[in-house]
Amino acid sequence: MASIGQGVDRVDGRLKVTGRARYAAEFPISDLVHAVLVQSTIGAGTIAAVDMGAAQAMPGVLAIITPDNAPKLAMKGGAQQAVRAPLLQDNAVHFNGQHVAVVVAQTLVQANAAASQVRIRYRRDEPVTSMDAALAQAYPPKNFRNGERPPDSRRGDPDTAFDGAAAKVDVTYITPIEHHNPMEPHATIARWDGDRLTVWTATQGISGAQQSLAGLFGIAPQDVHIVCPFVGGGFGCKGNTWPPATLAAMAAKVVGRPVKLAVTRAQMFTSNGYRPRTVQKLRFAADDQGRLVSMRHDGFSQMSQPVLGEFSEPVGLATEMLYACPNVAVSHRLVATNASLPTYMRAPGLASGNFALESAIDELAVALKMDPLEFRLRNYAEQEPHQNKPFASKALRACYQQGAEAFGWSRRSAEPRSMRDGSVLIGWGMATSTYPTHRMPASAYVRLGADNSALVRVGTQDLGTGTYTVMSQIAANTLGVPVERIRFELGDSAFPHAPVSGGSMTVASVGPAVKAACEAARAKLQRDGGEVAEASVDVKPGEEEHRYAMHAFGAQFVEVRVDAELGEIRVSRFVGAFDAGRVMNAKTARSQLIGGIVYGLGMALLEETHVDGETGRIVNANIAEYLVPVNADVPDIQTIIVPNDELVSNPLGAKGIGELPMVGVAAAVANAVYNATGVRVRKVPIRIEDVLV
């Protein structure tokens, strides 16, 4: 009966493989019409005039909404990351690819055809398209980590310690703009019934969508109904309520009919955020015993225009806590450009930050002529060094040991270009992964029958990660019944509140609510008897987050093969060992781990959004030229779950597994490329031309 941890098949698997799982764009709503976005083709300026004559006369066209005729929004906001534009509220153009009009027509084909005939005249300004050229104008974020902490921190005296140290690195690392590109593009169907709004939309946060749309349209949250039973991947780009959802509701209001707005793949590149480009300056130093004595990590991340909101890539957070170093300073700065607003993308801060951090650690190990794993062990933080708190648990040492053992790390030759297979150079690299364990308040409803069947409802989301399955397991386990007796429902704002599915916190937040509601219903049934008992509970984190530092950990080991003359880089072997706390489901956990590692391989070798320097327009806004890994790029991946039964972090002991596995992958690959070629590449993606020597 103890199904937690077992590799239970996805309870929604059959629905998905038979095409019966219904995604936002697929709901059969009667009287539906179609909206298509028109996007700007300049990087900065204002709209001078919109010529819609030809488009308006085309078959099936119902409305063309522009800043001149768009309904005014209440703009009360309420989303977690405020996105203030573009919602057709003024004529300003802040970036290339901004939504500047919405065409509504009877059919999608008619809307598309008409959208291409809308002619917009602009007054052009000079866009700022390069962050690197504007570093001197960098500014501190106003709302770093939602105001929870300042953007900078310092302990000890890193500059003095650096000056007197035995081994030093002083280097700059760069990561590019990357786009989430989930399989399912954004899509929304919006329908007004009087002043009540129903929205079927692809979102990682139905509660946030409800709050935002209520605020924007000036209605009460309970008058906004969000439906989202399935999400085809999010990776962060569906965390906010981005303009297309709002514009769909606006269009539905204008034409007085339900409207579907499905964002195209190309439009996805300027509609729902991206991982911003970062420039990271690191100055690390160690003494002759291999002890870190100074770490400075100054991060700059690309921003949009401040009027559109704020997002800061927190690249320095792991640098504060990963190693026992007495002198550490980190800072975060933003650089305003004419780009759309960046946002969270799988392992925000950590993915970009750990590429720089764990590469620079490798550089320092090379400078010390020390094995990079040994160097890390020598600086192992037994206690969280930034806040001086004990870890709730930390099995990183076991991750290092088990990962190294499985990989055969002890047989590594440290000398670059020393391992070869004919014309192919072989390199081994490793890096550390870490991701904070988050938890937020959540609620759940349970209706338990005397026949041991249970209906469980939470207003949470399943991004494809396995929420339906894992929550069913938690309920089954708590009630002592088979998983088949549980019906778990999510994705409806009428259900009890749950947080956004981000920050790897869904299991840690929602799981305890499901567990507590099941316990309450069972107690009620046992006490009162009868055929059925209902329970609704609200749970929230306790004192533990103040008393303990809570993080998941991992160790990534990779082998790369680099053709010595041709420079082609291929990953041939991967081992990742993780302390993710208690695992809820061995199958979905394995999927998360290999998925995260593949995401990291994409970051290391393939993914990059190219922006035209003249116009600020994205040149590869499609998935033929924005490269993500295909099967041929992915080697055998061995994943190891290091046992950890700690229950301090949360009642289920789940430390979060969605983002952890991609952290450190890019650094491990870069370190392996160095070991193979002797070339230290301080940017991703690492390309053929970077290693042509």
């Binding site: 291409s116 295909v630 790029d633």
Partner: protein
């Protein structure tokens, strides 16, 4: 996408007759044209669907190989005679696109696919190839994937086909037909035009004219031919640099040498300078190195694509080594 009329003839002659109308395009597998239609890069008034006209035979005999235009990429790549007698063709096809695309894509369509230049494929940019005279922002822009050979001040868009590179090395001939005209034959080396001041004109095809077949002569060199494609992603990506080599070596001496390159030129690029350096020479490693160092004479890199010059020489060398081993 704009509305268009779709004609679905069942006879080649009907297809040619309809295809002669103004503002009309032929559509074969549609793996490229459909994307261009959806993105409003192509906006024809009429499409002529060739699916019903047959024209998909693959014939190999002592006189050579004849691939009809509607033969599927996957069928040609799997053809045993092609694999034995013209391996570079099968290898180039198998390095192209994905299995799904190869099952749809045709030989004629592959040769007429448009460039992958991101500026061409997005109507939000100016592009001389799409809108003559509007300018080329790619030359000073994101040009890593673009051509170092054959470009002009008006266009440096790379020709994207792998198959065309293999056929260029083998001196293939294209059979072209147009309503009312006798069929004509054009060597593939004369089929593609350099962009010059008119990058919108990519081939010598006349209005309404269609590729009906590809004819490849047999040769000892073709039997010993090889294709190498270098790219960032291991599959389903266009070439950064590719090389097609066909060698007839007797007693260690190069008799018949054919070398062509892809990913570097505005059209499939034959490398006569490399061939000349090896013809009649002993093909030892020094000779191969010396000859391949001449590859890409006259290259004009645009910035981000400068590495292609080095990579081209190394790709040619590796392919020569493989074919002469």
């Amino acid at each position: 996408m704009q509305a268009f009329h779709l004609a679905q003839p069942t006879m080649l002659l009907d297809a040619l007759a309809i295809g002669n109308a103004a503002d009309t395009k032929f559509i074969a597998g549609g793996t490229d044209l459909m994307q261009l239609l959806k993105d409003n890069v192509e906006t024809p008034a009429q499409l002529v669907d060739l699916e019903g006209v047959g024209l998909s035979q693959i014939r190999a005999d002592a006189s050579g190989l004849r691939l009809e235009a509607m033969a599927r990429m996957s069928d040609v790549a799997a053809h045993l005679d092609v694999r034995a007698q013209w391996p570079v063709i099968a290898q180039a096809l198998e390095a192209s696109a994905s299995p799904q695309v190869r099952n749809m894509g045709t030989i004629g369509g592959n040769l007429l696919q448009r460039t992958r230049c991101g500026y061409f494929r997005d109507t939000g940019f100016n592009c001389n190839k799409r809108e003559p005279g509007s300018g080329c922002p790619a030359i000073a822009g994101e040009n890593r994937m673009l051509a170092i050979l054959g470009g002009s001040d008006h266009c440096i868009a790379t020709h994207a086909s792998d198959l065309a590179v293999a056929l260029t090395a083998l001196d293939a001939v294209l059979e072209l037909r147009r309503a009312g005209d006798a069929p004509r034959q054009v060597p593939i080396t004369e089929f593609y035009r350099l962009p010059g001041t008119t990058p919108q004109i990519e081939t010598v095809l006349r209005p309404g004219e269609m590729i009906t077949a590809v004819i490849v002569p047999p040769s000892a060199a073709a039997r010993n031919s090889h294709y190498l494609k270098l790219r960032d992603r291991a599959s389903f990506e266009f070439a950064l640099v590719s090389a097609a080599v066909a060698l007839d070596v007797r007693d260690g001496t190069g008799r018949d040498i054919r070398v062509a390159a892809g990913g570097v030129g505005t059209r499939p690029w034959r490398l006569p300078e490399v061939e000349a350096a090896l013809r009649g020479k002993k093909l030892n490693d020094d000779a191969l190195r010396e000859a391949s160092s001449r590859a890409g004479e006259g290259a004009r890199p645009a910035g981000q694509n400068a590495f292609k010059q080095i990579l081209l020489r190394r790709a040619v060398l590796r392919t020569l080594q493989t074919a002469s081993a």
